[in-house]
Symmetry: C2
Subunit: 127 residues, 2 copies
DNA sequence: TCCCTTATTGAGATATTATATCATTAAGGA
DNA sequence: TCCTTAATGATATAATATCTCAATAAGGGA
C-alpha cells in the first residue's frame, strides 16, 4: 500500500505553521494574507491546495458558513459553530444534546451539520 | 406607512408562476432556465432579483447548501433539509426534536439551521 | 385615453470564491 | 551529484451572484 511520496516543501511547512497560529476560523484568503507576510512569493493556488490537503490528511476541517468563503478550523474534534450576524465572526460552540432525528424513510442520513447564528459577546454589548 | 409602490410586471408574474411549479428546491440558475423556456428575453439579473424579492416578501426561503448554488424553497413553513451526497438533490425532511442547545454564554443564539447529508432513496438503491 | 414619473428591466461589467492548466522548479532518493 | 516527478505559481477559467446604468414600461393622474 505504497502511498504517493509526499514532499515536505518549504511552502507546506510555512502554510501549516501559519495556519496553526490562527485560531479564528480563517478563510483561505485570510491564510493567504498571513502567509504573504512571511513569504510574498507563495501563490494563492498553493495556499488553497495546501489547506485542502490539511483537510484531507485530517489536520483541519472545512466549515461552510453559508455566506462568504469557507472557513478552516484547526479543531478537528467534532463540534459546532456559530456565526455572528453582526461582525461575521465564526466561533466554536459546545452544545447539549443530539441533532433532531430525521423521520423520513426516504433518506438515509449519514450526518448533519448545524450552524447557529446570532450575536457574539462583543456585538451584543455594542448595541 | 406608505410602501414604495410595487409594480406588477410581466417578468414578476412569470418568475413567480414558474417558480411555484418547481418543487425541487431549484437554484436561481434552474429557475432562469425554466423561465427562459417561456420567455427567453428575460435577463438573469431580473430572475435573481425577483427570487430575492420573493424571499423578502416571505413567499420563499433561501436554503444554503454549503456547496454549489443556493436553493429556493417554496415551502416557507420552518423545516429542515437533506442533501444527497450522490446526486446533489435537496429534500425537505421532517424531524423529531429540537436543535441542541448552545451552552456557551458568550454567544446569543438567534437561530440555527441543520443540513443533513446522506443518500436519497433512488441513490441508495442504485448502489 | 394620453402623459409623466419612476420602479423595473436587461445587457454587460464586476466581485468573490475556488479550481484547472501547464510550464517551471525543487525535494529527496539513487 | 543527478534524475524523476511531486509540487509550485502565474494565469486562465468556472461558478455564483450582485452592481451599473441607460432604456423601458407600469400605473396613477389629468
Amino acid at each position: 500500500m505504497q502511498q504517493k511520496a509526499k514532499r515536505n516543501t518549504r511552502q507546506k511547512q510555512l502554510v501549516r505553521s501559519v495556519f496553526e497560529k490562527m485560531y479564528n476560523h480563517p478563510t483561505a484568503d485570510m491564510v493567504c494574507a498571513e502567509v504573504a507576510k512571511a513569504d510574498p512569493t507563495i501563490g494563492r493556488a498553493t495556499v488553497y491546495r495546501l489547506l485542502n490537503s490539511l483537510v484531507e490528511e485530517g489536520s483541519a476541517i472545512k466549515v461552510p458558513v453559508h455566506d462568504g468563503a469557507d472557513r478552516y478550523d484547526i479543531t478537528v474534534k467534532p463540534h459546532d459553530h456559530a456565526k455572528c450576524l453582526q461582525c461575521g465572526k465564526v466561533l466554536d460552540v459546545s452544545v447539549e444534546g443530539e441533532l433532531p432525528r430525521v423521520k423520513d424513510v426516504d433518506f438515509t442520513v449519514q450526518g448533519g451539520a448545524v450552524l447557529y447564528y446570532g450575536l457574539c459577546r462583543e456585538c451584543s454589548q455594542n448595541t
